[in-house]
Symmetry: C2
Subunit: 390 residues, 2 copies
């Protein structure tokens, strides 16, 4: 039980929350060969679970996180002020209903929230990995998540769900392990990044790597952080996660002090917002992890081994698919979701698709938009659990 002092600044779980949660840790000592050719002989994965695995072990749902997400998807840590990043969607009676499902979310390898990544100690040197931590791919993550599933006693996931980069993982699962998931819910994702998306990632990486404090990624050894670069990367990201319309309605051309200053300090409210978001990110995210995550995004392209034929890449999938996109998402546009839908339809796969009307841009996938949550809820409610046939 937290002390009174802590409770004053900490939040108590809401009635429909999974409540207080604790992060768990799994150690893996079987070498994992990555797409890059590097082998991780030892790694740890942190994860959280919500709900209870049933006797048939057929009610497990895997949540895959996006670029800056982590394993803390729902509930609240004791003493914390904020709930997990998808708390509005995961919980008792919520679309991802923990009364029925056992929900698992892990921090991906290469992340900075507890799983082995650039900030972890490299057993070969006794120092932090930093830039020596190998670039991971979405396929690598699926491999590590499959091992986690093995250890948790989950042979087949009832569903794998993710938005953005998380949706790419759900798709890769369907390709790599057709029989290990019954449903794939792929939200605000794409079968690969557009050139424009790669370009934005490149600017973000360049901002980090050209920061004088980056020191070729060994900034830990210098006791510094490439703060300016990481902040810029996040500011840029935020612009692209939101629609032009929502930026307009939130901030317009409003001036912070009510009049022009003819100087270079923050003038427009949007500037203030971006700087705040950038600064907050620097305090919680590692620059090397950010670089790695953007590369995983850039590299994702399941069709590439099939002569760029997405149908060929998806031919062996067995899952029932739900794809969702948002009308104002210009970073992962509805057209990109439709490419996946069409490929699956051409293959006569079981696929549903909803283009949700939303002004919020790419960020919509994190928001409690009624039509969006209703569709998720309806699709997930139809998943049978408790040993019945799927």
């Amino acid at each position: 039980m937290a002390s009174d002092t802590e409770l004053n600044s900490a939040a108590a779980p809401a009635a429909d929350s999974v409540g207080y949660v604790e992060t768990q840790r799994m150690v893996f000592e079987t070498p994992l060969e990555l797409d890059s050719g590097h082998v991780l002989s030892y790694y740890e994965i942190v994860y959280e679970t919500y709900g209870t695995l049933n006797a048939a072990h057929d009610n497990a749902i895997l949540i895959c996180h996006a670029l800056s997400g982590d394993h803390h998807a729902a509930g609240i840590h004791r003493g914390a002020r904020k709930a997990g990043w998808w708390d509005n969607c995961i919980g008792p009676g919520k679309p991802i209903d923990t009364n029925r499902f056992f929900v698992v979310c892990c921090n991906n390898l290469g992340g900075c929230a507890g799983s082995t990544g650039p900030t972890s100690t490299n057993p070969q040197t006794g120092k932090r990995y930093g830039p020596d931590f190998p670039i991971c791919t979405v396929h690598d993550w699926v491999e590590s998540q499959a091992r986690l599933a093995d250890r948790l006693g989950i042979e087949t996931w009832a569903a794998i769900i993710g938005g953005s980069l998380g949706g790419m993982q759900a798709l890769q699962w369907a390709v790599d392990y057709p029989h290990r998931l019954r449903n794939a819910i792929i939200i605000a994702a794409a079968p690969n990044l557009s050139t424009q998306n790669i370009a934005f990632n490149e600017v973000a990486r360049h901002a980090i790597m050209s920061d004088a404090q980056f020191h070729d990624g060994r900034y830990y050894d210098h006791g510094v952080v490439p703060e300016r670069g990481l902040m810029l990367a996040r500011m840029l990201g935020h612009i692209t996660y939101l629609s032009d319309d929502v930026l307009h309605s939130k901030f317009g051309r409003e001036l912070r002090s009510g009049k022009l200053t003819f100087g270079y300090d923050v003038e427009f409210q949007i500037e203030s917002y971006l700087r705040y978001q950038g600064q907050a990110f620097v305090d919680r995210f590692d620059a090397n992890s950010y670089l790695l995550m953007t590369k995983a995004l850039d590299y994702f392209d399941p069709a590439i081994e099939h002569n760029d034929d997405l149908r060929d890449a998806l031919r062996e999938t067995q899952a029932r698919f739900l794809l969702m996109s948002f009308t104002s998402d210009w970073r992962f546009s509805s057209a990109r979701s439709r490419e996946m839908v069409r490929a699956l339809q051409d293959l006569d796969k079981n696929v549903s698709y909803v283009d949700v009307d939303s002004a919020q841009g790419h960020d919509s996938f994190l928001l409690e938009i009624p039509h969006y949550h209703d569709c998720l809820r309806a699709f997930i409610a139809r998943i049978q659990v408790g040993g019945q046939p799927a």
Copy 2:
């Protein structure tokens, strides 16, 4: 005449070029009070002219440049390899026909191509202005251009033409000096920047100002340049000047070496392109000027003094208007041009509007797109010169 050696690397003017041109310079010693309250007691404007001012002095066209443009709009400098930035549109027989018109283009105050700006010597200190050069507005530029017109003996411009930030100047001229221009051609512009545009500018500024070599804008004194920041600003700009489609068709997901390297050097062709563009810009543009130009963009908003009523701002205009936009321009979208068109229509002004079908994004306004140039040509051909009534 250039030497043989120079000619080898230099280009000769094409047959429809205005030929070899020379930059001219005008000195102004009448104090100019800027919107910021600062007074420039001495300043110089560099400019170029193409064609001949007729006896009636009624065939002069002013070209206003955009963010990174300058006074060298057409023809070629002796020994140079490249023609002016709008050479495809200005010349004998071209849409802006120098056989009929006397074309003037000047470098705006605060720029870095020869007119007084941050890189000029501050007469009060004997050092470069740097960050002490006052932020200029579009209105300030119109004032300085009006003085240049006075000195050139041009009471009324046959037309004022500009794309992007240049279009904003043409609009401001129509507002500030209704009787001093007969036609305003406003291309790929907006009545003010959207929140998203301000946000992109803010990231660009932040990239420059957070560069360790920026030294509060006094980098000249340190013998350095905030190269990384300026490069980032330009890379980001380039993404937004092009459409997603044109990036896709130009670069796709093509890899420079044909395979993934699992490292952070340039991998995708788009990355190579952006770095090249960024680096080239650093060699020709000043960071303080870039900051200033982005502020001029952010501040432009003629409706602000009229309770945000654009019609009220445009009520006194007298010019015949041509507005043009490009279907794939998402930085200055067609919808923004239509706002101006609607306001002018509501006022029963003489306005034409063309939304040009183009895949090239905002950059379209610089390209030789047949439909675009045909419309420009037709509109400009109808401008009467030689003393006939307008």
